[in-house]
Amino acid sequence: MKNMKSCMCRFLLSALVLLFVILLSGCWDRREVNDVALVLASGIDKEGDGIRISVLIPLPGNMGGATGGGGGSGGKKPFVIKEETGSSIREAVAKLQRGLPRKLFLGHRRVLLIGEEYARSGVDQMIDAVTRMPENRLTVFVAVTKGKAIDVLNANTRLERFSAEAIREILQSDSSLRVTLKDVAGQAITTGSDAYLPYVQLKETSLARQQAEDITVSGYALTHNSKMTAIAKGGASVGIRLLSGKFKPYILTLKGKNGGNTTLGITSAIVRIKPIIKNGKPSFQINVHSKSSIEEDMNIQRNYDDIGQRIEIEQLVEKSMKQDIMKALKLMQESNSDVIGFGQIANRAFPGLWQRTWKHKWDELFPNCSFAVSVDNKLHRIGMTKENLAKKEQ
């Protein structure tokens, strides 16, 4: 009995000692939410030889949380932007941290903006700094800004509390293609494909008492070997969107002969890219099957009962889409940016040939590839009326 008791005592004692050992580690990674500075978005700019990073940090105290009302309309901005320069990204972040009472926390960064100047010098170095830290999200949306990234970060959009929120919403909406850091890195490391990033810029609303800055996606930055080489805007950007395979509905306006423009919505498009070998060189057949719907028709005389007129519209849409795709292809070939990954498409179709010859000289092959584009469009919806309601009865 006595023996058992001492045995029990020893067991309890050792359990206690083990407990102390566990507690010795303390609260290792503990950080309270009011001791961290949540970074919602950050920007990277080129600054001389070095780098200027900027971070957007929300101020919970100014957000009018549980106790206040109003929701931060009292003039005080609910966020601050801090910036610092350094010869590398992490160095700049560390220097920035020295001046901050709260620990920078990057786990909630959803937007990473890259200044155009920095993007042109190459984004591959930046990818390392982001991916090496476990805190960072690889699903952060990446975009190239016209001008300085910090200026876009500092935009006062007024619709959202933080510009970061506005940028994030725009980058994942239909007006852009969702491009995350993971996508950029994946495309950048693969031979036979290059990365593309949304190109965002500020647009000022200068209406009296309504001054605001909006952030729009005006095109796509094309890269070659991680260096930004061109910007696809207008028709070329539409072409990139179509070819990228991430179709998002968009609007197309046809110029009418009698001054009556017609606006259509392209509601779906299936793009098939088929590689073929022509004279020993890779060549691509691009077939697009799209559906469109009439959204507005300024031509009062239009009669949708007439199949001829409908076919005419379909053909005009096909022509326009083909032009956009050709523009995009031309821009890509000029800047040698294979952002669609034609090289990889060729690789999948002719793996042997790709491994032996094409892979090593894709940079020379791609600008000389030939493309055959055919678009088939179906007008499948004309809206709730078949003719303009204001049309005079005959």
Partner: protein
């Protein structure tokens, strides 16, 4: 003969066991002196001497208040007025007395036990046997609605403190001679009646034997509530999990008996014990079986979810906000950060303050007289509410977490299980504050390991999930329709598996096809 030495003089300080060997004297006077000695200073003990018609002297002895005095009067009447000519105990019992329950006692041990239990004892001059008359009648509470286990649909009657009432409530539910009620007396001083009830032919005889053995092994001075028995016969005393169920509802007991479980009814308490008791029974409310099966199943799933909420929410909140802020959606984290901006404490201290305050309020609510309960609930709403937030002591998010946890712990139909969940929340919170999510995983794994090891009267605590037996799963996560539950739970080692004929299910299948 009474014990030797010094003790002999103080007969009134002996236990009943002491009188096991003391035989009843043939002389009434001697017996009366003896009894008066034993019951010295017991003003409720009554000794009534009388002479039987045409016969010898007799003495009737009982404890006032626990006998049916009208019936005793009736006995006296028949002895003093209507007595025939037979004077030995056997004939009196057979011919004269209008009493249903009679037995004889030949030594003082039996006699005293009977008297103290509410029986009346008749002693006749010249007889060494005493006649025990079962004329018990205590004042008790009437059968009323059980307060701890209320239902929307289901029987409204509950047990009370009277053993016979309780057994009768079960007997009226199960009218079968297979329903056995084995009687035991536990407690050297209290002599509490304990009844072990089971359905012969269904319950595992080894289980019944084991429970009987454990009850017989109890050697304690008093048993005032079934909780004494529960603690003294449970498998693992140092476990946070209850291994024996208690209930106030006769229908719950009847259902358990039909599943091959054993009920232990203790005199003086409305709480009847049911064993074995496992984890999955925590979530089975009697109403699951009375509502239609879809409602029953959904409510059970809801309870399952709330079990985890009650156990984990504060720990998860602490872990997520202090170690894994990346897990929380950005805008929610910003709201939490905004509400925590002015809070002086770390999340774990904040959580502990609130949880302890809430537990205190709950305890106060139970202990306080009902008339001041209102005041407590008003104060409680202020403490665990807006006032605490506005004072900047706790954050609004924490108030939500604590309230949710509180509500969740009330959804468990078994109060003793809910208490263990409430207890285990605290170590989990501490683990979460030191190790984050890893700590919670460690804690939950430890609890699960302990549960897997635990047994309740030989039945694994997590049965039928671990060890697995799929055929019993019809009444675990869901409550299957009655037509489909043809078998009794096999993990209870029931003797007779068949609950109903399969024919009824065939009829249902035909209905489905139509």
């Amino acid at each position: 003969m009474p014990g030797k030495g010094k003790r002999e003089e103080k007969l009134d300080q002996q236990t009943i066991a002491h009188y096991k060997e003391v035989l009843i004297e043939p002389s009434i006077n001697q017996n009366k002196r003896m009894l008066e000695e034993i019951f010295r200073d017991c003003s409720d003990a009554v000794f009534r001497e009388f002479t039987m018609e045409n016969g010898p002297d007799a003495l009737i002895c009982y404890v006032d208040g626990i006998v049916l005095s009208t019936a005793v009067d009736e006995v006296l009447k028949s002895l003093m007025v209507l007595q025939g000519n037979a004077f030995d105990i056997g004939t009196i019992a057979k011919n004269t007395l209008p009493v249903v329950q009679t037995s004889t006692a030949e030594q003082y041990g039996e006699l005293l036990t009977a008297v103290l239990s509410g029986d009346s004892v008749l002693l006749v001059e010249g007889s060494t046997l005493a006649l025990v008359l079962g004329l018990r009648g205590t004042e008790g509470r009437t059968v009323s609605e059980p307060e701890t286990e209320t239902v929307v649909r289901g029987p409204r009657e509950g047990f009370n403190e009277h053993l016979r009432t309780n057994t009768s409530l079960i007997r009226t539910k199960i009218k079968s001679p297979r329903l056995k009620m084995k009687s035991f007396v536990v407690g050297t001083e209290t002599k509490t009646d304990v009844v072990v009830s089971y359905l012969a032919g269904i319950a595992d005889p080894e289980l019944v034997q084991e429970i009987e053995d454990r009850i017989k092994r109890i050697c304690i001075d008093g048993v005032l509530e079934s909780g004494y028995i529960e603690e003294l016969i449970q498998d693992e005393a140092y476990s946070p999990f209850p291994q024996i169920q208690n209930t106030e509802r006769p229908d719950t007991v009847a259902a358990a008996l039909l599943e091959g479980r054993v009920a232990i009814i203790v005199n003086g308490t409305p709480f009847v014990l049911l064993a074995p008791f496992g984890f999955w029974q925590w979530l089975q409310a009697s109403e699951d079986y009375y509502e239609r099966f879809m409602a029953g199943s959904l409510l059970r799933i809801l309870r399952f979810i709330f079990l985890f909420i009650a156990l984990l929410t504060p720990a998860l909140y602490i872990a997520a906000t202090t170690y894994h802020p990346e897990m929380i959606p950005t805008s929610l984290l910003l709201s939490i950060a905004a509400s925590r901006e002015a809070i002086p404490f770390p999340a774990v201290v904040e959580a502990l303050i609130m949880e302890v305050a809430f537990e205190g309020l709950r305890e106060a609510g139970i202990r306080l007289p009902r008339t001041v309960g209102q005041a407590v609930s008003i104060l409680g709403a202020l403490v665990v509410g807006q006032a605490a937030v506005q004072a900047g002591i706790v954050s609004a998010a924490m108030v939500i977490v604590v309230s949710l946890t509180g509500i969740a712990s009330f959804t468990l139909p078994r109060y003793n299980a809910a208490i263990s969940i409430r207890m285990l929340r605290f170590p989990l919170m501490l683990l979460a504050s030191v190790f984050g999510l890893l700590g919670i995983v460690i804690g939950v794994m430890a609890f699960m390991g302990h549960m897997a090891k635990l047994r309740s009267f030989g039945v694994p605590y997590l049965a039928p999930v671990a060890p697995i037996s799929f055929s019993d799963w019809k009444d675990i996560f869901i409550r299957a329709p009655w037509q489909k539950m043809n078998r009794r739970p096999s993990f209870m080692n029931v003797q007779d598996q068949q609950r109903q004929q399969d024919a009824s299910s065939i009829a249902v299948d035909k209905g489905d096809e139509a």
